[in-house]
């Protein structure tokens, strides 16, 4: 392999002596993906396939008085038109869809608006036609009469008495699933955690820093627009070809919205062109299904790019007030957070993880956290990589940096002094098992980047830490052992970033065979056991665990076959490094596979797992940058991301997660935001104007993988995908402060904001 690939530093666990784990095989689906042969959602071709299009609301808040589809239906080439009138009435049914409770009425009304539109771009009707051009022509012929209502898009405005109400009957949940407020408002949830006596602790503190921060709505920005194809067969069987992070979740959501049995829905997961949390909810699936039922043909709908920006779930804008107190030595004694996230059109945003993440990196005795989920006339917000954590890390890491400055302490030393470790109790309750934040901070402190001098005007360096839970949840896998010594592995986790391979490698390690001898397939919902979403940084951890269990089952079945050959007890057969042995007998995995059909037939094994709790991923980033004081443009000069991966199964793909997450975080920090006019219309719903980072905007992203094994996984895997987006805005804000003396308290730190902060000191305070 060429030197140019320049692999990252890995700080290994000293007991690590794996054969397959830690190597870098070519991914199993690789050739299909570099030759254009892989089938993504929009590449599905079916007999009689027709195309659909979605009519979206031009109003940000309005009552729908009437919808007249007659002209569209009569348009030549149009096969079916649908509105929410074709959906069953769901009342206020709450369903648990594996990811927690979902109000089905909201889910359905977001797919097609019912009585009101709640944001510009809200889907109102849909057309199926011979092709997408005709379908779009027909959209213009649908007559919708709206009664415009006053709008509110700012989270703090929406919390005020007298603000326009999105949901007339919305009563704030004061306790999850319990007591509710008496009067309706836009606040759907209030989360609250308190421990100790913050008032007294702040009083006694040596230094207290308190600051307010705001962030704007940002989108996950996957390159593949949402797309779904549905065929409602005459026997009532619905097949959906989906681009989804979870085929079983898409099946549940679709069956609930349409109120048809789950067994009547099969979801076939296509290759998925990015998700980052945005392809967990459904938008198109039930709409395509109803259109298909109406016209008897398979219907494919692909969103337009402005439809993706305006009609799918970005992640929220926020207002945050953070207060931290330290003693003379720098020990954090008190913390207070007041957080308000906009959830967009419907309740159920990402404030929940926000309040849990806010002080997750530190051990703070006295703490008080309030968090609010607030409805506004913007798209219904959804998860975006470590949902809710990046916001609070930006705010807290900025305040920690300011404390270090006031204490005249090295910012990494201050973090080391206060870092969460095994036994630290998070403010919301959980006690950490073995975690690797200390090791990651130490690696950052010892890194050449941190030790190197940074010279030149308007240049600065910043560091920040970040946390994400990393979940377990349900995964299943089935394996068929083949006579040639290979294993076909069926699993249900859609592969967004090389997980076919990271799962296969764990089975290969268990069986003592090569990664290439595993043939992984992502199967549809009829062909593999229930598997939760590809999200929460869980796939390599949990589906990997299922693969390990499958491997153990294979070994145990094969021991019986070896015992048959050797006429001994299976319990006496040993297995190590791919070799079965008993006394003087020994046979390799491959050799025994060739004898399976003569000793009882080929072997199938299966496993379902449901690991509970979190695997806890911590990262630390170092950023050098230069600010152009004439334009306010920030150029990243050098960037290093360090993270505890537990065990990096395929280090290249772990590095890829660190690098990709870092650059998304850089985009969020420096440029990305939804811009709205006074009518609540998004002004920049194109990739040119939303302006995500290009190759020219960023440098190489150096990575360091730290391996502090996770005690709850046989190989120590922690999950890595989400944490890397969390530290960048904080690290960059701290570097901008170091470069200019100005603390930016508003994201993004775009050229106009930085320029005005420099020239007028209008935005940030120094």
């Amino acid at each position: 392999m060429s030197e140019n690939f320049n692999h990252a530093q890995i700080i290994k666990d000293p007991d690590d002596n794996y054969k397959i784990l830690g190597t870098r095989p070519v991914r199993h689906d690789g050739v299909d993906k570099v030759t254009g042969r892989a089938i993504y959602g929009n590449d599905v071709q079916l007999q009689g396939l027709v195309e659909g299009a979605i009519l979206r609301s031009p109003e940000a808040h309005a009552r729908i008085l009437s919808i007249d589809t007659s002209e569209a239906e009569a348009h030549p080439g149009v096969l079916a038109v649908t509105t929410s009138a074709d959906f069953p009435d769901l009342g206020d049914k709450i369903a648990n869809l594996g990811e927690g409770p979902v109000n089905l009425a909201h889910l359905a009304a977001n797919c097609l608006a019912k009585d009101k539109v709640l944001y510009k771009g809200h889907a109102v009707a849909a057309v199926a036609a011979q092709n997408a051009h005709i379908a779009r022509e027909a959209l213009d012929l649908i007559k919708v009469e709206y009664e415009p209502l006053p709008i509110v898009t700012d989270v703090l405005e929406a919390m005020k008495d007298g603000a326009p109400l999105l949901h007339e009957g919305l009563l704030t949940n004061l306790v999850p699933g319990g007591e509710k407020a008496e009067a309706p408002s836009n606040i759907s949830d209030h989360h609250h955690f308190k421990r100790g006596d913050t008032e007294a602790a702040f009083e006694a503190a040596h230094i207290v820093v308190e600051r307010e921060f705001t962030t704007q709505t940002v989108h996950q920005g996957y390159i593949e627009p949402h797309v779904a194809t549905a065929h409602w067969n005459q026997d009532g069987q619905l097949t959906v070809w989906a681009s989804t992070q979870g085929s079983f979740s898409a099946r549940e959501q679709t069956s609930e919205v349409l109120q048809i049995p789950i067994s009547k829905v099969k979801v076939i997961p296509c290759e998925i062109g990015g998700g980052f949390g945005g392809k967990i909810p459904i938008y198109l699936e039930p709409v395509a299904a109803v259109l298909s039922r109406k016209c008897g043909r398979p219907v494919k709908i692909q969103m337009t790019r402005d439809g993706v920006f305006e009609g799918t779930g970005p992640t929220p804008a926020s207002f945050m007030r953070i207060k931290l107190g330290v003693d003379e030595a720098g020990k954090m004694t008190a913390g207070e957070a007041w957080l308000a996230y906009d959830t967009g059109a419907f309740p159920g945003g990402v404030i929940g993880p926000g309040v849990m993440c806010v002080f997750s990196c530190y051990d703070i005795e006295h703490a008080h956290i309030d968090g609010y989920d607030v409805c506004v006339n913007k798209p219904w917000t959804k998860a975006y990589r470590a949902p809710g954590s990046t916001h609070v890390a930006y705010a807290v890491e900025s305040v920690v940096d300011e404390l270090a400055e006031k204490l005249e302490m090295d910012p990494i030393d201050l973090r080391l002094l206060n870092a969460a470790r095994e036994g630290t109790k998070r403010v919301d309750g959980p006690v950490y098992p073995r975690i690797g934040l200390i090791e990651t901070l130490e690696a950052a402190k010892n890194h050449d980047h941190y030790k190197s001098p940074l010279e030149g005007p308007n240049r600065g360096r910043g560091v920040a830490a970040g946390f994400w839970f990393n979940i377990g949840l349900k995964s299943a896998a089935t394996a068929h052992v083949n006579a040639d010594g290979t294993v076909t592995l069926l699993e249900g986790s859609t592969d967004i970033g090389g997980t076919r391979t990271s799962i296969s490698m764990q089975l290969a390690e268990t069986l003592g065979i090569a990664a290439e001898d595993i043939n992984p397939k992502v199967a549809d919902t009829d062909s593999v056991g229930y598997t939760d979403i590809t999200g929460g940084s869980r796939v390599t951890f949990a589906t990997g665990l299922a693969a390990v269990e499958v491997g153990k089952d294979i070994i145990s079945q094969m021991k019986e076959r070896a015992a048959k050959l050797w006429e001994c007890e299976a319990a006496d057969v040993e297995f190590s490094d791919g070799i079965f042995s008993q006394g003087d007998n020994s046979i390799s995995f491959k050799e025994l596979c060739a004898k399976l059909s003569r000793t009882g037939g080929l072997i199938t094994a299966r496993a379902s797992v449901d690991p509970q709790g979190f695997t806890n991923g911590f990262g630390v980033h170092i950023c050098d940058l230069e600010v152009d004081v004439e334009t306010g443009k920030v150029q990243i000069l050098r960037y290093t991301a360090l993270q505890d991966a537990g065990k990096a199964i395929h280090p290249s793909y772990v590095e890829g997660q660190l690098q990709g997450g870092s650059v998304q975080g850089i985009g969020w920090a420096l440029n990305e935001e939804y811009l709205f006019d006074e009518k609540g219309h998004m002004l920049n719903p194109t990739m040119l104007d939303y302006r995500m980072p290009t190759a020219l905007d960023v440098p190489m992203i150096d990575t360091v993988i730290i391996e502090v094994p996770n005690p709850s996984h046989p190989f120590g895997v922690r999950g890595v995908g989400e944490t890397p987006i969390v530290p960048p805005p904080g690290a960059i804000a701290n570097a901008v402060k170091s470069a200019t003396g100005i603390r930016m308290t508003e994201l993004p730190m775009s050229p106009p904001r930085v320029h005005s902060a420099i020239t007028e000191d209008g935005n940030g305070a120094s």
């Binding site: 140019n4 993504y40 929009n42 337009t304 890829g656 980072p693």
Partner: protein
């Protein structure tokens, strides 16, 4: 809408004829009519580069080219980069260097990178970043893509 228009063109070395409406993009015809679905639609307005193909050797966003403009042109898509038996060094290096995660942008990057290396076999990092800045990737942060193009440039030099 009017009658469909007849277009004769060359795609991946093969003479091809198709009928299209005046409003249809080259991307639509390549994907839907000719079923070469390697070129992807990410934005349909020339911002993301996922639909990049070579038209007379020059990379273009095929969503911004009308199909009728392909009359008499020589087109190359991602499907032509590998030969019957072997991947192109760029494809090998993308795989060995893990330069793709979800893979939706990969065809566009490969076509743009091939055009770059065909015309400029030893580009600097800055030149690679500049030439690929019309292709968006949201997964990789570009590091491994740039390194894969550098590695392919080295490998192509060794072959010569």
């Amino acid at each position: 809408m009017g009658k469909k228009i007849h277009v004769s063109t060359t795609i991946n070395g093969e003479a091809v004829e198709f009928l299209c409406e005046a409003r249809q993009s080259l991307l639509e015809i390549i994907r839907d009519t000719l079923t070469l679905t390697g070129a992807k639609e990410g934005c349909n307005n020339g911002n993301c580069g996922a639909c990049t193909v070579l038209m007379n050797g020059v990379p273009v966003d095929s969503c911004l080219v009308l199909a009728v403009e392909a009359e008499g042109a020589e087109l190359e898509t991602v499907e032509s980069i590998a030969n019957e038996e072997h991947l192109h060094p760029l494809q090998e290096c993308f795989l060995e260097g893990a330069a793709l995660q979800c893979g939706i942008c990969t065809p566009g990057f490969l076509v743009s990178a091939k055009a770059l290396l065909d015309g400029h076999p030893e580009p600097t990092e800055e030149e690679i970043r500049f030439e690929l800045s019309g292709n968006l990737c949201r997964c990789t942060g570009y590091d491994k893509i740039v390194r894969a193009v550098q590695a392919a440039s080295e490998r192509m030099k060794e072959v010569k």
